[in-house]
């Protein structure tokens, strides 16, 4: 049987010290998180430099390939049409939402104010560095007013929320990640629930009232109950309806509105309209 070579004294001390450090981090995660955050922010800024450089290089190569090697005209036309489709789809959702609200109290028209949310445009420069979260890295951070828990969207709908922000970059947890939860509202029936991500890369709306008349194809939008998003931003379309085990609620599988594999430019909501809260109160008070 082979003998295990012994570790020398100094190395043993270093290993024990490192193991002790790990133990402290494990035992006191909340306390150590703050310290790690402090250490991490400057380090993240340094690592962000090669990250940006690689993204720029990759973008240049891809651009050259797409524009000069691949079919130039088809690519350009396709991109323009895709943009138009995105804009029209968004307008369609806005009009549908506004049409419904026009049948409600006139005070609900104040919800148009949410479209004037303060936003910051950011570019996606990378994916989550592990396979364990569905996330993207943005090229803007605290310097541009981005903070954790802010909502992120595109013209198509909800993308996710910011979970980490350093000076020059930020990490967004996508709406289809199982660790994410967004309060949702079925546009047609006005039933509310919570939209959670699934392992399969879709989303699931839970806690829909059992007597809801929800149907396949119904659009789910944000309910505006919590701070990150204003009301009415599309999340996705219902593709399957199921009963929960205890039969107290329905749940529905949602196909997200945004194609997360093609995310390039996003908007981060840095401030919601100040009138949203008042409008919401009026809405609650007027609903029969």
């Amino acid at each position: 049987m082979a003998m295990l070579p012994s570790i020398s004294g100094a190395r043993r001390v270093k290993i024990v010290l490192l193991a002790l450090l790990c133990s402290i981090v494990l035992v006191l995660p909340a306390q150590s998180r703050q310290l790690l955050q402090q250490v991490g922010i400057p380090l993240a800024d340094v690592v962000a430099v090669p990250l940006r450089a690689l993204t720029a290089l990759e973008g240049s190569i891809q651009k050259v390939w797409n524009k000069y090697v691949a079919l130039q005209d088809v690519y350009e036309e396709n991109r323009r049409l895709q943009e138009q489709i995105e804009i029209l789809r968004n307008q369609n959702h806005e009009l549908r939402e506004l049409a419904f609200m026009s049948h409600q109290l006139s005070a609900l028209l104040e919800f148009k104010g949410r479209l004037s949310s303060e936003t910051v445009a950011a570019q996606v420069i990378g994916l989550d560095s592990t396979n364990w979260y569905r996330g993207v890295v943005l090229n803007k951070g605290q310097q541009d007013g981005i903070r954790a828990e802010m909502g992120v969207l595109t013209l198509s709908g909800v993308v996710g929320r910011v979970v980490k922000a350093t000076k020059y970059s930020s990490v967004v947890l996508l709406v289809n990640d199982p660790n994410n939860a967004v309060p949702g509202l079925i546009q047609r029936t006005r039933d509310q629930g919570i939209v959670l991500g699934t392992i399969g890369g879709r989303a699931r709306m839970r806690y829909i009232p059992l007597l809801s008349t929800v149907q396949l194809g119904d659009v789910v939008a944000t309910s505006g109950l919590t701070g990150a998003f204003p009301k009415g931003i599309p999340i996705g379309t219902i593709s399957r309806i199921e009963k929960e085990d205890d039969d107290l609620f329905l749940s529905a599988e949602i196909v997200p509105q945004v194609d997360f594999t093609k995310l390039e430019e996003v908007l981060v909501i840095t401030a919601l309209p100040t009138t949203a809260e008042e409008t919401s109160e009026e809405f609650d008070g007027a609903t029969p």
Partner: protein, 171 residues
């Protein structure tokens, strides 16, 4: 030299993992370059180096991930340490042994994440995650790891023998 190499790995691997590697994904699974690097460093240069690189790489990786700031750091540090310990037991590091070690480390790392992040999920969801994410990721990591090992092992061993032997290699 070693410090420069470690600094290069810490600063360079995570950006590559976040950007270029998305083109190398199979079925949405990307190899974990940081885990492969930590495992190989632990395997080839010992548990202390492996653990230190693991802690540093894990920490930087978490800065560009949605996860908590300690989980990857501790897991990768442990992977580097364990890889170093395993290499002490192996009289002959065959490619099969490296593959098995790498796969074991990736499985360990995956299961730690699974328990820590999806611990409250049902058994069906856990099983599904193991089947569709943890196992393919481990196989992918191990295959790529053996490839990198094949490229660097001889060079590292030669430099180690040169350093430890009073007679220059080849004389």
């Amino acid at each position: 030299m070693k410090q420069a190499l470690f600094a290069g790995l810490v600063l360079g691997l995570v950006p590559i993992q976040s950007t270029v590697l998305q083109h190398a994904s199979i079925g949405g699974i990307r190899p974990d370059l940081c885990l492969i690097a930590v495992c190989l460093v632990g395997f080839l240069t010992g548990e202390l180096s492996g653990m230190m690189l693991g802690l540093a790489l894990g920490f930087v990786q978490e800065l560009f991930s949605a996860g908590e700031l300690w989980l990857s750091m501790v897991t990768k540090g442990m992977v580097g340490f364990l890889a170093g310990v395993v290499s002490r037991y192996l009289a002959n590091a065959t490619y099969a042994a490296v593959f098995a070690t790498m796969m074991g480390m990736s499985l360990y790392s995956g299961l730690v994440f699974l328990v820590a992040e999806r611990g409250s999920a049902g058994w069906l969801e856990m099983f599904s995650t193991v089947r569709f994410i943890v196992l393919p990721q481990a196989a992918f990591d191990a295959a790529l790891g053996v490839g990198v090992y094949w490229l660097v092992a001889d060079r590292v061993r030669r430099s180690q023998i040169k350093l430890s032997s009073p007679y220059p290699l080849g004389e």
